[in-house]
């Protein structure tokens, strides 16, 4: 097996042996169970006159609640990816774990790519598995399924991959805790910058809008989150928000349009640049 896949396998194996996967599985099942119970309660809600809510309203409430839950889920996924990626390289350099391995015929680029592939596989599988479970539970509880579930899961997974990649880039130079904290703060700031951009849209202030655009370019996590929101919104809601004009676009928990193709192309370039920079940085690191 080529070294890059050996390293990837080792990364997955470590997560499994250290019981990270088991912990995630148990926590996910608990959260999905609770949320299924909570969503089921929506169907039993009544209006003031004691009649049950009409299906349209149940769908609307469910869709909005699902956006909030998905925001938290994507946040937890992104934060976990950043925390795990923070010490990915530096932890093994500092402990000496990489010394004996790098004396083998293994390129440093293979270490970087292998570790990224291993963690990326975990992020993608976890996002797909946990997301599908949650969507299945919501569907079972309320009969509501977001209009674009596959795209939703892909956007959520991609947001996790962005934080994983950023954490790993920082990990090639900084200690684990520093890299993890910087990645977390960057994720939060990108989200806040996205909100500032929304406010700029609402106020039609170009400077504020630019803050959102630039933050999406520097760290595309918030832009991908908007894609996830769009994938969860029913068509009726999107139509209603479009009717509101700029005011409808000034909401961090709503998306009137899907992410433009140019942005998605930039995301692909961003990953290539960050991975390339990680390899460049690690190659120059003295161990």
């Amino acid at each position: 097996m080529p070294p890059v896949f050996v390293i990837a396998r080792l990364t997955v194996q470590e997560s499994s042996r250290r019981r990270l996967l088991l912990a995630l599985l148990i926590l996910t099942l608990v959260v999905v169970g609770f949320s299924a119970w909570g969503f089921n309660k929506i169907t039993t809600m009544t209006r003031g006159d004691g009649t049950p809510l009409p299906p349209d309203q149940v769908s609307l409430i469910t869709s909005q609640l699902l956006i909030v839950i998905t925001f938290m889920f994507s946040g937890v996924l992104a934060l976990s990816a950043a925390v795990v990626a923070g010490p990915l390289i530096s932890g093994e350099v500092e402990s000496g774990l990489l010394l004996a391995m790098l004396a083998r015929p293994v390129r440093r680029s293979e270490v970087v790519i292998g570790k990224w592939l291993g963690l990326a596989a975990l992020v993608a599988v976890y996002a797909a598995g946990a997301g599908s479970l949650e969507l299945g539970a919501v569907d079972w509880a309320t009969g509501y399924l977001p209009p674009h579930p596959v795209e939703l899961l892909m956007f959520v997974a991609a947001e996790g991959l962005v934080l994983l990649s950023l954490g790993m880039l920082l990990s090639t130079r900084l200690s684990g805790i520093t890299a993890g904290v910087i990645a977390l703060v960057a994720w939060l700031m990108a989200w806040i910058a996205g909100v500032v951009g929304d406010i700029g849209t609402g106020l039609q202030n170009q400077a504020l809008q630019n803050v959102g655009v630039v933050s999406h370019l520097l760290l595309p996590s918030d832009g991908l989150w908007r894609g996830a929101i769009y994938a969860m919104e029913p068509d009726t809601l999107i139509a209603a928000m479009r009717a509101l004009g700029t005011a409808g676009r000034a909401n961090p928990f709503a998306a009137v349009d899907p992410p433009p193709l140019e942005f998605m192309a930039w995301v692909a370039i961003w990953f290539a640049v960050v991975l390339g920079a990680s390899i460049w940085s690690f190659r120059r690191r003295e161990i």
């Binding site: 790098l102 015929p105 390129r107």
Partner: protein, 320 residues
């Protein structure tokens, strides 16, 4: 026929590489900012030789090994391992390395760690089983093959690291302080392993500050201090002198100062040690002490140990 030609070509290629030294460096230098970790290291380690690289803490021993393994980049100078430039990926298939800071995947078993090194080496999968059991047996971990490394003591982890350095019958093995975590039995085992490697023609680059250990197994040594090699040669070349210990009373400090004509002396009161004194001059020394009014109780000439020589070299270096 084609197979024969292939074998001949392979043998010829191996022969070409085999004719080159195991390690060769020319003016290898490493600076960390203003700190000179290694200053113009030039040396050659022939194949099949056990080479001791000695020096006090911070002398540049580990830096030299890391430079040779491509873990650090030299500021200037060049190095070759097994005839190929440092950093060459193919060469690393023939090299074993036990780092000073040894750490292995705690979530793997000992056998799995060795399998990982077989895979990265890379060795044919069919040979892994034999390689792993042979390495485990050599380092005395056969009984713990299936146990997680996280349950190992530090000494056992160092043994495992040594085992990992041995997989694939390397032509050159770097051992950086290989007995730092071992008990006397473990140290004895490591000496036996090094002798075993030497007997099958493997060159061993041994970084150590345990001088008795080096003295027992090394063919040649280089002493490094402040990033510079201050002496090198075979054991016989380095340890040519005789050390003479004298126990005498009744000498004043002025008398002792006059004895400096017999070479460097460690003055410990009634006990004086002359670090490098020709055995023929011992009667002359005793006569001088007696003529000064000193009473001689004991004169013990002995061959200089590596420790004597090492301390002498470092002291000379400080004086310069």
């Amino acid at each position: 026929m084609a197979e024969l030609a292939e074998k001949t070509e392979a043998a010829s290629a191996k022969g070409k590489v085999a004719g080159t030294p195991a390690v060769k460096t020319v003016e290898l230098t490493k600076r960390f900012g203003h700190t000179v970790a290694l200053a113009g290291l030039s040396m050659t380690v022939p194949r099949g030789e056990v080479f001791g690289f000695l020096g006090p803490n911070g002398a540049g021993k580990t830096t030299a090994v890391k430079l040779l393994l491509g873990l650090l980049k030299p500021t200037s100078g060049e190095g070759w391992l097994l005839g190929r430039p440092v950093g060459d990926l193919r060469t690393r298939s023939h090299i074993g390395y036990l780092p000073e800071l040894f750490r292995y995947q705690g979530w793997l078993s000992a056998a799995e760690v060795l399998a990982l090194h077989c895979e990265l080496a890379p060795l044919p999968r069919s040979s892994w089983k034999d390689e792993i059991s042979s390495a485990l047996e050599t380092v005395g971990l056969t009984d713990r093959a299936g146990d997680k490394v996280s349950t190992f003591s530090k000494g056992m982890q160092q043994r495992l690291g040594l085992g990992a350095a041995l997989v694939g019958e390397p032509e050159l093995v770097f051992l950086d302080e290989p007995t730092s975590a071992l008990d006397p039995v473990g140290r004895h085992d490591v000496r036996e392993i090094i002798r075993g490697l030497a007997s099958r023609g493997t060159a061993v680059f041994l970084n150590s500050h345990l001088l008795s250990e080096v003295e027992q197994v090394c063919d040649r040594v280089a002493v490094v201090d402040h990033g510079r090699v201050i002496a090198s040669g075979t054991m016989d070349e380095l340890l040519g002198g005789t050390t003479v210990r004298v126990r005498a009373a009744g000498l004043t400090q002025a008398d002792k100062n006059r004895l400096s004509s017999f070479g460097r002396m460690d003055d410990e009161g009634d006990q004086m040690t002359f670090a490098s004194l020709d055995a023929d001059r011992v009667p002359e020394l005793v006569a001088s002490i007696v003529s000064m009014g000193g009473r001689v109780y004991e004169v013990a000439p002995r061959h200089q140990t590596l420790e004597d020589r090492f301390l002498q070299l470092l002291e000379d270096e400080e004086t310069d």
